[in-house]
Symmetry: C2
Subunit: 329 residues, 2 copies
């Protein structure tokens, strides 16, 4: 008799078992999970698709990176509120042929991410399908009134980003070309496979009331910055020269322009984009725990998003980041 | 230029707009939703796949029934805890060709369900895929200590079910055979297309502390009752004659045995299965707001699940309900 759904759920529960049961009154195995909310906190809730063919390739991507990244992506949305993740639900649909070693490796990557982000499996749903389908719901918490929204930016605020932009896209391109395992160890390929949501920075700028608005960069700056501006009913002017570009090996001979294009339009970075009142800017160090914090421009009253090239030429920034309804992989 | 993801999200938000913003501090349009938990309540959390090919057929099922049912299925898990749904997340992946009239009809069914279950859209994720993929996360609340778990059944407890079992499976079979729209109006076909989670009964048996254990019947009694027994570390003896079978039109000429088989193994009923101490049984009416409440047997110390046939023959109940890893549609 083939292993059924119940056996699969037991394997998932075992692989993700956690010593801590903090505020999880009831986990996997009942109709629903029961969480105990922390007094004085709002509940943060988000979910994210991670689909074979659109977001990863079954034959190319290591299963443990699929496990890591499906959680990291959703946790990044929680980081972007200045909140802490606490629990997650895993919805997993896989072909029957992948319920052996593939699943074990997937679950190892997921378990490693769950420990790193201090986010506990609370439940989910498992079924069979021809393609690998993943949906992750993450629950988090943030002190009431301290969440940082997209809508709080004001004209004159300075615009910051964490880390280096376009690095994950550069990593994806290297990964696609790569024929041997050594490629997987380059910084940019690791960023593509195992992104690190900026939880600590997000919490810090929220707790210290440094950021007036914030979001994470998942589709690319040229798509995401206009979303923050639209939510805040403002515009922005960013400076090409100030973009923190990917560091690339010398032998790649990439032109500077290509690196700016990657920084503007590359997706999957999971860095944070946030705005700061000028009077607060002195509180920001040049880096936070080794992650650069770069001022790339400022918020404007006029509701356009402009890019300033070296020499002073200005152009309207076009959304050229990732949009599933406009792209084909 | 094609409509992108942002336009799609705006259409979904508009179709699901609600006058009430009860305890939703921040809805669609930011990185995550912010909910305000109610003091003295636990947060209930569940999610459910609803996939083309496995759970519905694109060419057969009316889009509004797909919208209704994807939410109803997940809400049923909340009903099974004795809890109230409050918010949900919609993860929707569709082919680009279905973002027109199909999506409008889908959203109408979903909006109707959201109003009926008093459950508000708080967020989600939208992307493109070849097949229609749906995942719904429902958040609910229940007074601390009042949730009814699967694990509370004790030997001697009486076993109850709501409604009639096998009706949705009977409806599915009629629906598959049906060539005209009149089929859609039969009670059983409507139950297949537009199931009604038993929220009021679930809340009532939880609030009055009548039920010692509870779960919803989604895969079929023969698969689900053993799960409740395993969680409670008990067995059960149920009586074939007492099963509330589907009412069928006279002209169908179905044998009684077939109706018992449907009641045991038919999935998708979304009725409640719960256990009651014998001393509490007198508090249960024969029906609750028109929905029959039937005692079908009792919990036993011996950890087997037995079915008693007319005449007294006993057999071990085999799990023949729905299991995605053992069935092919």
């Amino acid at each position: 008799m083939k292993a059924g759904e119940d056996q699969l759920v037991q394997r998932i529960a075992k692989a993700l078992a956690s010593k801590s049961r903090a505020r999880l009154a009831l986990g996997i195995g009942d109709d629903a999970a029961l969480l105990v909310p922390r007094a004085g906190c709002a509940t943060v809730l988000t979910c994210d698709w991670f689909l074979e063919g659109s977001h990863f390739l079954r034959d190319k991507h290591p299963p443990d990176s699929i496990g890591w990244k499906c959680l990291a992506r959703a946790v990044s949305d929680v980081a972007a509120m200045g909140a802490e993740p606490t629990h997650f639900l895993l919805s997993l649909a896989v072909p029957g042929t992948l319920t052996g070693p593939w699943l074990d490796r997937f679950l190892r990557g997921l378990a490693r991410a769950a420990r790193r982000f201090d986010c506990q499996l609370a439940g989910g749903d498992t079924t069979r399908s021809d393609k690998i389908l993943i949906n992750v719901t993450v629950v988090g918490e943030v002190r009431s009134g301290r969440a940082v929204l997209r809508s709080g930016a004001k004209p004159g605020d300075l615009i910051y980003v964490t880390g280096r932009l376009g690095e994950a896209e550069f990593g994806l391109r290297s990964f696609r070309r790569g024929r041997n395992a050594s490629h997987r160890n380059s910084l940019s390929v690791r960023k593509h496979l195992y992104p690190e949501p900026r939880l600590a920075i997000g919490r810090w700028v929220a707790a210290k009331r440094i950021a007036t608005s914030m979001m994470d960069l998942s589709d690319g700056l040229s798509s995401d910055l206009p979303r923050l501006c639209a939510a805040s009913r403002v515009g922005a002017r960013i400076v090409a020269d100030r973009l923190p570009k990917a560091k690339t090996p010398v032998e790649k001979h990439l032109k500077d322009l290509d690196l700016i294009e990657l920084a503007l339009n590359g997706g999957d970075d999971y860095e944070l984009l946030f705005t700061v009142r000028p009077s607060q800017a002195r509180r920001l160090p040049p880096a936070f725990r080794g992650i650069p914090l770069s001022c790339i421009g400022e918020i404007t009253r006029e509701r356009r998003v402009l890019l300033v090239w070296p020499g002073g030429r200005e152009e309207t920034l076009s959304a050229r980041g990732w949009d599933p309804f406009r792209h084909r992989n």
